[in-house]
């Protein structure tokens, strides 16, 4: 099944997403010396099987900052970023010169906060549209291959579709590809 593009009804969602990402970028920028820009590149619905084809194929290892949703919507919101980009993002924000292949615990915590800011900003905006509160738990950082990571979240929820927003995070003239994944699509009609 091909990824379905958002209907016109969801255009409002796009706009709100853009605003939320703008606010998230603003918040992140207050926490680091340089400006960070976060923007949505595309948004689409896809299946779990098709998701790998949408992602950056040069990366095998991914990092997922996931927050369990509760309240009006349940499921997971996942900030999905490749291992390499995650290092670039964190070290770009923290201005770390190290080129260690693994993030330290502190760096992972910082990365989690970044994902947390982006997710919370979107959820805060979405709750206004849905006129209902979507609560989250604290972010959880996981690592692994795509299917491994998705299997954890999607099997748990028996989700077969995902709402994927491709993001571009620009920091220090570096454009980093990352994604927001939503395992529940309460605002979309049947595919």
């Amino acid at each position: 099944m091909k990824p379905a593009e958002l209907t016109d009804q969801s255009q409002e969602l796009n706009q709100i997403t853009d605003i939320a990402l703008l606010e998230a970028a603003g918040m992140i920028s207050t926490l680091c010396p340089q400006e960070v820009q976060v923007s949505a590149v595309s948004a689409q619905v896809t299946t779990i099987k098709q998701l790998p084809s949408l992602l950056d194929k040069s990366s095998l290892d991914w990092v997922a900052i996931s927050q369990r949703l509760n309240g009006f919507v349940e499921g997971h919101a996942i900030y999905f970023i490749s291992d390499e980009n995650s290092r670039s993002l964190v070290r770009g924000i923290l201005e770390e010169a190290t080129r260690l292949r693994e993030l330290s615990e502190m760096e992972e915590e910082a990365l989690s906060e970044v994902g947390n800011i982006i997710i919370n900003s979107c959820l805060s905006s979405y709750s206004q549209i849905l006129k209902g509160v979507i609560g989250t738990q604290l972010p959880l950082l996981s690592r692994g291959h795509t299917d491994q990571l998705l299997a954890v979240f999607c099997d748990e929820e028996k989700a077969s579709e995902l709402f994927v927003i491709e993001l571009n995070v620009c920091i220090k003239r570096q454009n980093l590809e990352c994604y927001l994944l939503w395992t529940r699509l309460p605002w979309l009609g049947p595919v």
Partner: protein
Amino acid sequence: MKENIPQKLERLVTDASVFDAMNAGLVVLNHKGEVAVWNKWMVEYSFIEREAVLGHRFADVFQGLNKRIQQAIQFALSKNLSSILSARLHSAELPLYRSKQDFRLNKRIHHSISVTPVELKDNDWCMIQIRDLTEGDLHEQSLKKTTLELESMASRAREQESQLQTILNNTLDAIVILNRLGRISGFYLSAQQMFGYSEYEILGKPLSVLFPAPFNRRFDLLISQNKNGKPLKFIEQVKSLKSGGELFYSDVAINTIFEDEELQYIVTIKDITERQLAQEALYREKEQAQVTLSSIADGVITTDIIGQINFLNPAAMKLTGYSHEELINQRLDRVITIQSERKNLPVFECISTGQQVDSISGDVLIDKNGNRLVIHQVASPIHNQVGDTVGAVMIFRDVSKSHRLASRLSWQASHDELTQLVNRREFERELDQVIDKARNEGSEHCLCFMDLDKFKVVNDTCGHVAGDELLRQLADIFRTQIRGADTLARLGGDEFAVILNKCALGPAVNVAEEIRAAVEDFRFGWGGQSFQIGVSIGLVMIDATSTDLEDVFKAADSACYAAKEAGRNRVHIYSQDDKEISQRRGEAQWVVRIQNALENNRFQLHYQPIVPLNRAENDSVHYEILIRMIGEQGETVPPGAFIPSAERYQLMAKIDTWVIEHLFAWMDQHWDFSGQDVFAINLSGQSLADDNLLYRVKQLLDHHQIPPDRICFEITETSAISNLSQAQLFIDELKQIGCRFALDDFGSGLSSFAYLKSLAVDYLKIDGAFVKDMAVDPIDRAMVESIHNIGSVLRLKTIAEFVEDDEILKALNEVGVDYAQGYGVARPKALPTDGSALFSC
């Protein structure tokens, strides 16, 4: 924050002890954002008692919270969203301290914050959890720092490795690495390019593949013998072998190193082909320079900046007479003596000025043996690369021969080769200086012109060789009579001159007289004959009133001529009032008049009878033809007025020709040739030498049909002697056709009789000087008798001139002279053009 606190804390809120046991900060805010729980950890770390914060808004407890915390609290209270604030992004955000000291120092802890919503009492409360990550953070920072350093070291090592690789691959020299077994383990780019092998082809092979025999065996042996891995150092120039078989010269160096305790050899090979070629070229150039310097005839000496000799070629040694050892490292001026007008030697002047210096002509080098060499030398500076003078090179050559030659040429240009006396040109130059000196200093000098009296007699009688020898001997005589300061010259021919330097008139006359007497006493012997010569001297003073060279010359020449005219063998002093001089000067004016008269036929023929004294023998009457000039105003000009000028300016031949032409024409027109009368025509010495005249005479005789025996040419004794060969030729040619000849003024010469034999004359005209007083002077009578007797012996008729009265006639008759001529016989008259007869008395 890994664990989640249960949301329902209602029960736990009232029991703070649970929260106090936590090793982390816990703050619970109610829905209003007011502190409901402030655990012990918070009390300890914030130094704020519980009672102080409970019921107060968190934002009031900690004023100045950043937007993120505010948002997180707000998200938790109103939107049910959980937030995490990482320690890295919020380092020491809250004023929490580990100790009082830290509190005083404001040394906050590094902490992370998590804000989670809790539902409590049906309201959305939030829970703030704070973890102290100071140690962990510091530890992590330390680890990162170490990691960074390690990374940096690794990066530097990689960079160095890369640089090394770059260096090794970009050296000009080939670098080859050998393992301990001598096998090639590294073959960098330069080596690949030098030898033509790729790394793939050469790795693992022994070093010897790069060198031909015997070098290859040397290397193998060298390495094989170094099994103990001792430090090895090998530097040599060997031939290397490229992959294509080409050999080239190289410098090879082998060093040993230890890499990770493993022995390796580093071989550096430098292609020195270019250097070798350059060295060979340099050697050849040096050799060529050496050979050139050694073979050139010029001496070359180089010095350093202080004039110390540091090089000299064989020619320099030969010219100076010194050996290499005697000159090298010595100061030039201390070993070699050069006399020069220059104050300093050219070498030192050159070093001082940095410019090339040429020698002045005439520099003399005194060699080791004291020999004097005239040299020409040039000194040029030697500069270093920046242009500073660091020495000089002196090039010199022996120009003694050419100097002598130049001196000789200069001498020859100013001297007469025959007599070794100063020549005319040099004499004039010196005379010019003397005249300047006289004018400027007011000094007095004397110029003497000396003209030999009888030089032509010797020259014509004995030949030019005798004449040259006579001149040499007379020059020697002149030398003995003058001082060293005086200048004696031969002007040309038989003319001499002397400048008596700073000499007054009196002493000058004495010197001139002594010269004259010396010449008079001198006898020149040649071919068994002895000749007395004589000299006529003209003397002129040079003083402040002298004008210029030309005038002084003319004056001396005039005085000399006057001496000649006065009878020769005498000294004549030039005087402004001298009539003779005046007349001499006036002669030049006659030239124009004579030429004019010739062009306009303003000459007139006169005649004077020469009558035989013994009519009984029916001797024919002679008529001597005389010439008169008709002046511009129609006046008659006697020959004495213009003949001397005509003679002086070579016009006599023209005059004589005119006479002959016009006489023959008159004879053709007016004479009947019935008698035996003879017309006597005077011929000058110049005419005798004129070949055209001889031809002309014959032509005219033929044209006018005049019997040659009616013509008698009168030649003076003097002119005959002066032009003896020409006279002989002239006489012989015309006598062959019948003309007659008379020797005029016979007896006035000093060696007259010697010439009579060689001249086929018919008549002797006795010099009037002997005749005019013969009636009263027995000596003169004796002379007349003598001359007549000689003539008689030679079968010559004699003619007496200057017969002025009957007594002379009587005396002549008594002597037996054949003819008489003079005013006592008949005065000259013009040749008649009206056909009337000639008067014969």
